[in-house]
């Protein structure tokens, strides 16, 4: 019995790399999709040595319609069943995005539009195979728009709504969809943070948690305590919430 193929979208991030390694160690074939071809090739060799029986790389720019078509074709020819780990996204400086419409639109196009189009492209394969699973990286920032990052947060909120509907749709096809809401993870994005107020999650820990939870689907916070933090934030009365500076 084949272990199937994990298609990793945005494969060069630290979190995606950790997840690809986990899937490789479990004997799954991999399609690594991303923009940096040299890096994809390096990751492909790494994943092969860690146990992936077959690794393909796919030059994939999320904002390129041709890339979406190529993804759909790849999904059809991969060793079935396929599963998808959607990890691409960007978080430019919020104050810059407010004055730079191009930068802001790019962020929304990547985090929301491209994610929706990519998942739409592989949807028929999931409907046909009636197995495999989908993991989508959302963000705690998508739970409630906050002063500090509501542009980024709103793109993720859109993605959350899409993922929720996708999960409902695919439940009839026995395909679990997992929406992951990472808190602060120790990646290049957060390396610049001074004195993070909460313990950082590791990419390996997050990948491990995604791997365990993927067959069940649903929504998962990581590290787990973010569930508590976000429940509190979501329910803060507006008068208080509006006065907070975060």
């Amino acid at each position: 019995m084949s272990n199937g193929t994990w298609i990793i979208l945005g494969a060069t991030s630290a979190i995606a790399r950790a997840f690809a390694r986990k899937a490789a160690s479990q004997g799954c074939a991999l399609v690594l999709a991303g923009r940096d071809v040299n890096e994809l090739n390096a990751l492909a060799v790494d994943a092969g040595l860690r146990g992936a029986p077959m690794v393909h790389t796919l030059r994939f720019d999320a904002n390129d319609p041709a890339a979406i078509a190529e993804l759909a074709a790849t999904a059809k020819t991969a060793v079935l069943p396929i599963s998808v780990f959607l990890a691409f996204g960007q978080m430019p400086d919020e104050t810059l995005m407010r004055i730079d419409p191009v930068l802001c639109a790019q962020m929304i196009d990547t985090n929301y539009t491209a994610a929706v189009l990519a998942l739409n492209a592989v949807l028929p394969t999931f409907e046909n195979q009636q197995s495999g699973s989908i993991v989508v990286l959302g963000s705690v920032a998508g739970d409630r728009g906050r002063k500090k990052n509501f542009l980024y947060g709103s793109s993720k909120a859109g993605l959350h709504a899409y993922t929720g509907g996708l999960a409902a749709h695919l439940s009839a096809f026995k395909v679990p969809v997992l929406l992951v809401k990472p808190g602060v993870i120790d990646t290049a994005m957060t390396w610049g943070l001074k004195n993070p107020p909460v313990p950082l999650g590791s990419p390996e820990g997050l990948a491990e948690a995604c791997w365990k939870r993927a067959p069940k689907g649903g929504t998962m916070y990581y590290p787990w305590f973010w569930w508590g933090i976000m429940t509190l934030i979501k329910h803060l009365p507006r008068q208080i919430f509006n006065k907070l500076n975060f």
């Binding site: 991030s13 940096d36 790494d46 860690r50 990646t187 610049g192 001074k194």
Partner: protein, 450 residues
């Protein structure tokens, strides 16, 4: 893209630290741009050097190498593994032990990077048969301070190769290396363990090893004196014929520093007595243990260095050449036992030949390693131990050291002159530096300006 961030780095013993600008590139292509910044620079692995070998100069820059950890190639017939320098021994073992391969030489912790292990030319419990890590390297890819990337090996840029092995990271940034893994029959070690009554018994044990046992180590009760001086537990081992079903898990961690008084002469004496009396019988007994448990006893408690409290600890490791090994080790143990300074781990090992590096630690003889809490008076003890070592023609292991002087260094490492010549060639502006390099007189504070 990779950014700089202020970060405080310490050695594993936590006795010295520095707040510096750090960057942690996620891919090799990010590394070069980072090295173009001015000022002193060093590569930082997992920070397991005990003293100041991994502590940057204050206000300088350090590049954290942990995320440059891709496996690059593996030859199933020869066992030659090529990997990026930030890969940890734990990671290598996780992937290759199930395929029947061991890292040829392992220090007491698997939480070390390949680059760090090369830069300290680490050795293990099989030094007699296997030598140190440098003996198993095919080549090293080095990013010179000039930004040029070169490959060094025994036949290509040989002087730089021998300066890089055990070279404390001063020749440039190790970015990739090819290392020969060692085939093994199983995931377990067949360990013969017994109590040795005194130091003579201990030395006799090392000298009368059965041929099949290629690994040996002794744990010595450093507080024992008089008749029982040098008593402890002797272990010799070879790879077990069959695998065992044992899943090794990381142990509990120490999330904070224990109060300094936890380790006092009384508690350590009790611990050592307990260990000596309970851990082994006086007749040799065979145990089959998982590879990880045999090689990496220190990894069972994460952040065990916090056990010594906020002030940290010093580790002392010396080798005494064969000619006066018994006498030298006895004098060291006497000095330690007289000092009444608590120490959990006193480890005695036998070393074979000298290493491949100009600053490699090993030489034929016996090596003793132990910890001392960083309390007042510890420096007097350390200088006493350093003097005993020097008088016997021995040397101190730089990966552990926090105490020797530039003068001690030159006496112990005669090839320092050749090492300096290579540094002058590859790093004329003294870019690569750290606190140990300043202490040993290999670098000056003014360096790195260009």
């Amino acid at each position: 893209m990779s950014s700089w961030r202020a970060h405080t780095l310490t050695g594993w013993g936590r006795t010295s630290s520095a707040t510096v600008q750090t960057a942690r590139p996620e891919r090799l292509s990010d590394l070069k741009a980072l090295t173009q910044e001015t000022g002193h620079l060093m590569a930082y692995g997992l920070g397991r050097s005990y003293g100041d070998a991994c502590v940057p100069v204050e206000h300088s820059r350090a590049i954290v190498m942990q995320r440059l950890d891709r496996l690059v190639a593996f030859d199933e017939t020869t066992g030659l593994l090529t990997a990026e320098a930030g890969v940890s021994f734990a990671d290598i073992l996780k992937v290759f032990l199930p395929k029947g391969w061991l890292i040829p030489v392992s220090p007491g912790s698997s939480f070390v990077t390949l680059g760090g292990a090369i830069a300290n030319d680490v050795h293990g419990k099989n030094h007699i048969s296997a030598g140190s890590l440098g003996n198993h390297l095919e080549w090293i890819d080095l990013l010179l301070p000039s930004g040029e990337e070169i490959r060094v090996s025994a036949t290509q840029n040989a002087p730089i190769f021998h300066a890089t092995i055990g070279g404390l990271g001063l020749t440039g940034i190790i970015i990739r290396a090819a290392v020969h893994l060692m085939p093994t029959r199983s995931n377990a070690m067949a360990v013969t363990r017994y109590r040795a009554e005194d130091l003579d018994h201990m030395f006799a044990s090392f000298m009368q090893m059965p041929v099949e046992d290629t690994y040996a180590v002794a744990w010595i009760d450093a507080l024992a004196s008089g008749q029982t001086l040098g008593r402890g537990i002797f272990e010799r081992a070879h790879s077990a014929p069959q695998s065992i079903d044992a899943r090794h898990k990381a142990g509990p961690g120490l999330p904070f520093n224990l109060p300094g008084f936890t380790l006092n002469p009384l508690s350590v004496r009790l611990f050592n007595n307990m260990r000596y009396n309970m851990a082994a019988s006086s007749t040799p007994t065979l145990h089959t243990v998982p590879v990880e448990k045999f090689f990496y006893p220190l990894d069972s408690i994460q952040n065990w260095n916090r056990m010594y409290g906020k002030r940290g600890f010093h580790q002392f490791q010396a080798v005494i050449p064969d000619a006066s090994a018994q006498q030298g080790i006895r004098q060291l143990l006497e000095a330690i036992s007289q000092s009444r300074r608590a120490s959990f781990l006193a480890v005695l090992k036998r070393l074979g030949s000298t290493g491949q590096g100009m600053l490699s630690f090993p030489l034929p003889g016996y090596t003793l390693a132990l910890d001392f809490p960083n309390s007042s008076g510890v420096h007097e003890l350390l200088s006493r131990l350093i003097n005993i070592t020097r008088n016997h023609g021995g040397r101190i292991y730089l990966a552990k050291d926090s105490a020797i002087t530039a003068d001690d260094f030159m006496a112990m490492y005669p090839m320092h002159t050749q090492f300096r010549e290579v540094l002058a060639q590859v790093d004329p502006h003294e870019r690569m530096s750290h606190q140990m390099a300043l202490r040993l007189g290999l670098r000056t504070r003014e360096g790195g300006a260009a």
